[in-house]
Amino acid sequence: MIALVRNEVMKILLKKKMPLIMILLLIFVGLLSYGQNYAYERNIDQFEAESGETAFDWQGLTTQRLDELEERSQNEAIPGEVRASFDREIEQLNYFIENDINPVTPTAAKFNVSFAEQGITLFIPLLIAILAADLVSSEFSRKTIKILLTRAVPRWKVLLSKYIALLIMTTLLVFIIGITTTLVSYLFFQEWGFSEPIVTGFTLFEGTLNSDSTILIPRYQYTLLIYSLVWFVSIIVASITLLISLIVDTSASAIGILMAALIGGQFLQFFLSDWELVKYFFVTNLDLTRYLTGSYQPVEGMSLNFSILILSVWAIGSIAISFIVFNRRDVLV
């Protein structure tokens, strides 16, 4: 089995999919971080021009906000939880003041998270699809499926080895996305920002996602949290793509169908968000990271746990159908 998985990983690598993905990634990340840096500098220039100051006085603004928060938390009428969340923000702002960090500067740690948040519904699934779509279909189009299936190896093992190889490459790809976004954006921003505190409603608490109260965590933890969600979504998308590519025979149509589903799904969600069924479609549930930033509910009744459950069901279903289809299939190429 290990040998089979090694073969499959080698095929993916030799097909030069990774360089293609890397190039796409570098282009996007480069453009985005350049753009963000440019927009930031322009904003500051504009601010300075309007206020007539020579330097952007972030300390002033931050202190102002601090005072406001402290004043409000003195108010006896404020409920306990809200006061707790004020305290978190105060703590956070104090960190910026004490460490002389401008809270609105773009940093690599912020960029890699916002890239993941933006990419999780379309761009990252596209990269995964490039990887997964021809895993099986290319064996059919090159007819090499015949040599794979006429060895003394049962069909399910052949497919399983491909699936495991796909999981390995998907995991690797998520790492690559994280590292590339961080390094490339650092080149532009010259700030890491991984130890800055961030207020979040979610924490990974003893392995489970805890959303009872807001807390303050360092950015690197938040990045890890976001990227575990990206990884989860990527695995789901990879599993679904595998099924599509098994059914349609060519990788181009597999990528096409997946893209149509992703874009069509967003339309559905946009136009028919009060239609109950929409929330059971996998595309509606892909945007896991948005749950972490406030009370996101694309369709009524959805939550992080709900989405994770729905996505898992889709992936497990896809894998099960893939194995059944692959086992029964007549190879007539």
Partner: protein
């Protein structure tokens, strides 16, 4: 014990509700080279696909070295090497990588086995080049090496010489013949070329429109049952054959020809000699495989 290396019984296959294979049965013994002869579209590839498990028969069984393909796929397939409408290679890898890849799919295939297979098909010099730059003949050799690295007892080749030049065909044929002779590998080789089957095979099964219409050794397939005597007095012999053996014989010059059961031939010859005829030749008339093939398949409608 049944010593068949391959036993195919009553295969039937429907594809999209069309009956492609009606009833195909045959078997192959150790070390035999069997030709699977039939015109294009007669169902050779479809049958071979079912034998190697690429497609499932609608009904019927395949047994390889005593293992049922359906029930013991892995054990059955560990005895088979095949090229089905191939060769199929990953053209973005070298020939050697292709072999390594398949070697790792079988148990106990060592690097030495790979090197041996490469040497056997005479590809030592170009084995590390990318498959994309290989000629058809070289690809076919790699395909053969792929089918041989795990030392199978049965080799299944589907029209292996398609696309090869005469030189390549000749070399390929010699390699396959040697395999059967020296390693006792059984070979099932499909072809629409009569000469190829006649040159390589011990036995032939002829398929037409999804049915086996004749299975026999090459020699038997060619015997017509017609015997030709060259002797001094054909007219007198003709009468003798008619009166004693009730055989109608025809005269042509100094020869007499008749259709006789081979088992009665020595009795007839003894009688002729005892009656004082001077026999110079007795031969059985062979037809060409082509005649047989055409006579069996000329009814076909496409």
């Amino acid at each position: 014990m049944d010593t068949s290396v391959l036993k195919v019984s009553h295969l039937k296959k429907l594809i999209q509700k069309k009956l492609i294979i009606e009833d195909v049965s045959f078997d192959i013994q150790a070390g035999e080279i069997v030709g699977f002869l039939g015109p294009n579209g007669s169902g050779k590839t479809t049958t071979l696909r079912m034998i190697v498990g690429l497609s499932t028969p609608t009904s019927g069984d395949v047994e390889i070295c005593g293992y049922s393909l359906k029930k013991e796929f892995v054990k059955a397939m560990s005895n088979v090497g095949c090229i089905i409408e191939g060769p199929d290679l990953y053209d973005y890898m070298s020939g050697y990588r292709n072999l390594e890849l398949l070697a790792s799919m079988s148990k106990d295939v060592t690097k030495k086995d790979i090197d041996e297979a490469v040497a056997l098909v005479g590809m030592e010099n170009r084995i590390h080049d990318k498959v994309a730059v290989y000629s058809m003949g070289m690809k076919q050799r790699i395909g053969l090496a792929q089918a041989l690295i795990h030392k199978p007892r049965l080799l299944i080749l589907d029209e292996p010489t398609n696309g090869l030049d005469p030189q390549g065909i000749h070399e390929f044929r010699e390699i396959v013949k040697n395999l059967a002779r020296e390693k006792n590998i059984s070979v099932l080789i499909s072809s629409h070329l009569i000469s190829e089957v006649q040159l390589m095979c011990d036995r032939v099964s002829i398929i037409n429109n999804g049915r086996i219409i004749r299975s026999a050794s090459i020699d038997d397939a060619l015997v017509t049952g017609e015997v030709v005597w060259t002797l001094d007095d054909p007219q007198k012999a003709q009468l003798l054959l008619k009166s004693t053996f009730k055989v109608e014989a025809a005269i042509a010059g100094h020869t007499l020809r008749a259709t006789v059961d081979p088992e009665r031939l020595s009795e007839i010859n003894n009688t002729l000699i005892a009656s004082g005829f001077d026999i110079t030749y007795v031969e059985h008339k062979k037809r060409t495989l082509e005649d047989l093939f055409l006579s069996l398949t000329d009814k076909h409608t496409i």
